[in-house]
Amino acid sequence: MIKIPNSRTNERMPKNSRRTLRSFSTSCALMFAFRAVTLGMIIMMSAATPARAQETPRGKALGKRVLCMCGGCEDSAGLCNHPGGTFSGPCETARGMQKDLDAHVTRGESDDQILQAMVEQYGPTVLVEPPKKGFDLLAWIMPIAVPLVALVLVWEVVRRWRHKATLAPAGGPSVSPELLARARQEANREPGREHDE
């Protein structure tokens, strides 16, 4: 992967003048720098080899959408972490599941297809979230529908209470402007007392 462009550069070198020699030395330097950088990257990558299996970004994301089916944890396969186990990291089941997911991703399957395959293999409990179809759709609808219905009810209550309030003062006794002014003045005088929290 890294050697191909460099070997091509090497092949072009012999038939050139001073100018090409200069460009040759430049390209040599560039090549050296490139190799140094790639070598550094390889060292860094090998140093940072994760304990988890090599994951594709999509596989990693999908790993968080399926539960680890080991039966000993409630984590997703991607975040499996056994606090009381011999190893506090992904268990064998989670690593196997993650590997399967990556294999599906490599085969170019869509997210839905992969999740469906997991459901067929492990049953519906494998999905971290309820599926958005059939009876399980209710899980998603109700937390939106119930507050909306409640909002309508609150709105209706507010409407009724406001109606009452507009009717109430009509029959109430009158207050002299002096008394009203004094009440307002007193109410504003004491901070922290004008209205309670």
Binding site: A47, A48, T49, P50, A51, L67, E74, D75, S76, L79, N81, P83, G84, G85, F87, S88, G89, G123, P124, T125, V126, L127, V128, E129, P130, F135, D136, L138, A139, M142, P143, P147, A150, V154, V157, V158, W161, R162, K164, A165, A168, G172, P173, S174, V175, L179, L180, R182, A183, E186, A187, R189, E190, P191, G192, R193, E194, H195, D196, E197
Partner: protein
């Protein structure tokens, strides 16, 4: 001693049953002697349950492994600190602990009010004793903590037996916060029994006015505060102990503790509508009933294993008892409400949509929506299994998706609500109150976006957090400025004076500020990073500005556990910054391994390092490092919430205004008689709370 403990529990049960029966008889026959006798029996329950608790603790401290509960939850090498906490490590002890805390509350309520509210207290005593009867039934006949070890000999005759060593305490519980977290949560659960008892008593006895609310305000706040501390300590325990870099997993038991907290919060807000305006009486009564029933549901979910949970150390088939008690509670509450519903009739009027009243309505709507969403998600697997025959999972992503928008809306209301006036707020007042906080929020949003807050929810949380903080600050500042101008004191002294004059209001603002800090802490979650790497001695890994260099791995031996420890040197931006020592402890008695996370905490971020053990593939030690932004704000916010609640519990400092001659104050009464609306303002101006 086991006989003493068992007898004490049995007598406590009988005393509770007597308190119910004699209390009812006293109410019906109106005989004071019977009522007093019922009250004394109610108080005696506390003494008897205390004896039972002391007996069980005695068994733990004397390593008496003839008692099954002690065998299952202790061992000789267990430190005394944890032997004490082993009381609530299992089913039987937890339920005994519930009974004990409830009996403490009941004792305090009955004792402190023994010469007050003679019409109300007999009913309160009956309700509290009724709840105690249920839990003491469980303690005596379903999950007795004093079961002794016994086995048959060759002839089939049963003999008492004794083990030489116990199985030990679950290692997950061997952490200092675990000694504090369950009692706090239980104090919250049991504490809500007090406002429940008063509400039901007031309804049953048709006790006039809003007095039950005044009496229970502090009890409710204390229970709410304990519940808040319990929830936050649980979150911190999960964070510091489980080694997964998180603090809230939406586990059913966690959710169960959140539900009554949410309805309790709604209740603390909506009672103000009843106190100030005489509105929402039915709502408040049902809110407190619901809170209590959610406390029982929470205990049931923790104890029964109806839904799967990581809190699996406390599961059994006790759920049907709780279901029965919940049904009885609901039937009693509904019957009391139906019979006395005319007592709750209130004159609800709303002058404007833009008012404190409507903000409370929406606050309650949002809180109840959150409560429903959490309850629905928690119980949906059970419902799905019942309807479809197959179980499904409802995990953290579901709860986050559903609850984050609700929580952000609630945060918005936290800023808007307190600045709206009772009855009606003019457009000018709105502009005056909200212009600067709104501008500040937007500015913070722009800065946050530039700084890297690219997650929409986090950005919104930052904007709203700054907005709410500025509204709170402006409330303190405006009030203090008036006092400062009048008394000539500096602005900070004036703020102190202002706060002490109305502790409830300004303590409430401090609680709101604490909640803002918690929200900001949560907003850091999308920016979490983690890296797991096999690391030998001398190897390093880099995460954010930190480089972690592995220096050594060693062993530590104690009587209770053996530990593998990694010594890690942390470099920050290339400079040696600190040492961290993550551990893995293998507890001898239970043979279970636990991680002890090493955390370097700062306001900006936590560096959280776990020694995960040896890789199953290569056998090399694995270090898992997390970089978790803003987590510390959550714990700091929790402390602010507790301080704010403490402040709100203090009595108001009396001002010179209250001492004015009665004749001069009479104008407010005149106003109240003529026009209730203005009278209410006038009374508040006069210092009536």
């Amino acid at each position: 001693m086991d006989i003493l403990g068992s007898f004490a529990l049995l007598l406590a049960f009988l005393a509770a049953v007597y308190a119910v029966l004699a209390g009812i008889a006293g109410i019906i026959t109106r005989r004071t002697l019977l009522t007093k006798s019922a009250r004394n029996a109610g108080m005696a329950v506390f003494v008897l349950v205390t004896v039972a608790v002391a007996c069980l603790e005695y068994f733990f401290f004397t390593n008496d492994f003839s008692i099954v509960y002690v065998v299952e939850h202790s061992n000789r090498a267990l430190p005394g600190f944890y032997k004490f906490a082993a009381l609530w490590a299992g089913q039987e002890g937890s339920l005994l602990f519930w009974s004990w805390l409830l009996s403490i509350y009941a004792f305090l309520v009955l004792f402190l009010n023994r010469k007050r509210h003679p019409e109300l207290m007999p009913y309160v005593g009956v309700v509290l004793a009724g709840v105690q009867t249920f839990f003491l039934t469980l303690n005596n006949f379903v999950a007795t903590p004093f079961r002794v070890l016994a086995g048959p000999d060759n002839a089939g005759v049963m003999h008492l037996a004794k083990m030489s060593e116990g199985h030990g305490l679950t290692p997950l519980l061997q952490y200092p916060e675990m000694v504090i977290h369950p009692p706090m949560l239980y104090l919250g659960y049991t504490g809500f029994s007090v406002p429940f008892a008063f509400a039901l008593a007031a309804l049953l006895g048709r006790y006039p006015g809003e007095k039950w609310i005044h009496i229970t305000r502090r009890w409710t706040m204390i229970a709410w505060c304990f519940q808040s501390i319990g929830i936050l300590l649980g979150a911190h325990w999960a964070y510091a102990m489980l080694g997964w870099g998180g603090y809230w997993a939406w586990d059913p038991v966690e959710n169960a503790s959140l539900l009554p907290w949410i309805t309790g919060t709604a209740f603390l807000h909506s009672v103000m509508m009843q106190e100030k305006r005489g509105m929402m009486k039915i709502w408040n009564v049902w809110l407190v009933f619901t809170t209590f029933m959610l406390c029982i549901l929470g205990t049931m979910l923790t104890r029964s294993g109806v839904v799967s949970s990581v809190h699996a150390f406390a599961q059994s088939s006790i759920g049907s008892w709780f279901v029965g008690f919940l049904i009885i509670t609901f039937v009693v509450c509904f019957a009391a409400y139906w019979k006395n519903r005319d007592y709750l009739r209130s004159d609800n009027q709303l002058d404007s949509l833009v008012s404190r009243e409507s903000s409370f309505l929406f606050n309650n709507l949002i809180l109840l929506a959150a409560c429903f969403a959490v309850l629905w998600g928690t119980l949906f697997p059970v419902l799905s299994e019942w309807v479809q025959g197959s179980k499904i999972s409802v995990g953290a992503p579901f709860f986050n998706k559903v609850n984050v928008p609700i929580a952000l809306f609630l945060l918005l209301l936290t800023g808007v609500g307190p600045l709206l006036a009772w009855r009606k707020t003019s457009f000018d007042a709105l502009r005056r109150n909200f212009a600067w906080p709104f501008a500040g929020g937007v500015l913070a949003g722009i800065i946050g976006f530039i700084w890297g807050f690219r997650d929409i929810y986090s950005l919104l949380c930052l904007i709203l957090g700054v907005f709410v903080t500025l509204t709170i600050a402006s409330e303190f500042f405006r009030g203090a400025r008036v006092i400062s101008a009048r008394d000539g004191t500096n602005i900070f002294t004036s703020m102190g004076e202002l706060t002490m004059r109305n502790t409830r209001r300004y303590g409430g603002y401090v609680v709101h500020f604490g909640m803002v800090l918690i929200f900001i802490g949560i907003a850091g979650t999308p920016f979490n990073k983690d890296l797991q790497k096999e690391m030998g001695v001398g190897e390093s890994l880099r995460i954010g500005p930190y480089t972690i260099l592995c220096q050594t791995f060693d062993h530590i031996e104690t009587n209770n556990y053996t530990s593998q420890r990694a010594t890690l040197e942390i470099f920050k931006n290339g400079k040696s910054d600190m040492m961290l020592f993550p551990e893995r402890r293998l507890f001898r008695a239970s043979q279970i391994t636990e991680t002890m996370v090493a955390i370097q905490s700062s306001p900006l971020r936590d560096l959280y390092v776990v020694y995960a053990g040896e890789s199953p593939d290569s056998g090399k030690p694995v270090i898992h490092a997390y970089l978790l932004p803003l987590i510390k704000w959550i714990w700091f916010g929790g402390i602010v919430v507790v301080l704010g609640t403490g402040l709100a519990l203090l009595p108001n400092r009396r001002t010179a205004l209250v001492l004015r001659p009665a004749a001069e104050r009479s104008w407010a009464g005149t106003l109240a008689e003529s026009t209730p609306a203005i009278g209410a303002v006038a009374r508040r101006a006069e210092g009536h709370d």
